[in-house]
Symmetry: C2
Subunit: 209 residues, 2 copies
Amino acid sequence: MTETRIDRTGLTATPNNEGVDAAVAAARRVIDALLHSGDMSAVEMTQVAEQLNAVADHLEAHAPTVGERMVDMWRGEGVTRHDPVTGPENAIAPPLRLYGRDDGSIEGEVVLGMPYQGPPGCVHGGVSALLLDHTLGVANAWAGTSGMTGTLTLRYHRPTPLFERLTVTGRQTSVDGRKIYTTGTITAGGQVCVTAEGLFIDKQLDRPR
Amino acid sequence: MTETRIDRTGLTATPNNEGVDAAVAAARRVIDALLHSGDMSAVEMTQVAEQLNAVADHLEAHAPTVGERMVDMWRGEGVTRHDPVTGPENAIAPPLRLYGRDDGSIEGEVVLGMPYQGPPGCVHGGVSALLLDHTLGVANAWAGTSGMTGTLTLRYHRPTPLFERLTVTGRQTSVDGRKIYTTGTITAGGQVCVTAEGLFIDKQLDRPR
């Protein structure tokens, strides 16, 4: 079996470890720690709420208008930094980083913790759908013809474990006029947990200017 | 057209506005404000990162072990408080609150902001999938026979707007042995944006004890 070569330049935004990316990474720690604490925690949560509200107040007071921010976040044609799957500026995103393989497919690895739980100890089925929908979109961009999701079908083969290394893959399989067909998988320990098939339509919404 | 009556007791956890729920609500404000600020913000993000890391350090230092927390969060048989769609303890959750209707279906309303963006100004297709997967599961619980997602098919009819009131519905349509069939929709301003069909299998993973 020959090794598939991976292009380590990355198809998704690279976190800076400074500026807003560092603040977002810290926010991810807070989200996770709140779930690990729960309501039985010995921590005085009223004080935690006050501290977090003070941070939010400060940020909101200095934020640009939504219109200005939308233009800024969609500037250029490069990878997005704010989406809920790969975005270094979005604390909801794990974030997943995706790389192109020389066979035309893409892959990424991620470990999902408490915020992404569905059944006990397992990844929420809808979170797997979120990761795969986005990965199929990036696979299309990597293949050169991308669009918007028309139909997405997910098959859940076995529970996807939390706290373990998952491999997420995507591959554009064919293009027929404006129809784009794309598949993807989530595997854990070499076993397929979830597969996805997507039909995408070759169109884009205008970016705000 | 007769009005469908809604049972306002709710099928999902009710936020407390105190304790961990209040801290999580504040964390949601931080997530949102960080996206509204972006890297062009006038705010000194290094200081924000330090403040958030200090909160995370404090929470982590007082958190129970993962094993203890898992048993605690899955205690009882009631609605979960930690899932990434409806959970008052999960800052990733909008949260969506769902209610039973007297025709056997369920519904909820939600406005999604910047953290849930996919295409410019629109909800990420994978976020719609996340909301619908969970809503179909709650619809099954409301109907009395629930299980794990086997296959989920999503159809995207038109872009789902950010910043507008969305209605999310779910309905169990039939049960055939261990197979459960369930549908759902996301509508905005009376127009259908996304539809979902799910095949669920009547089984549950054991809760940690």
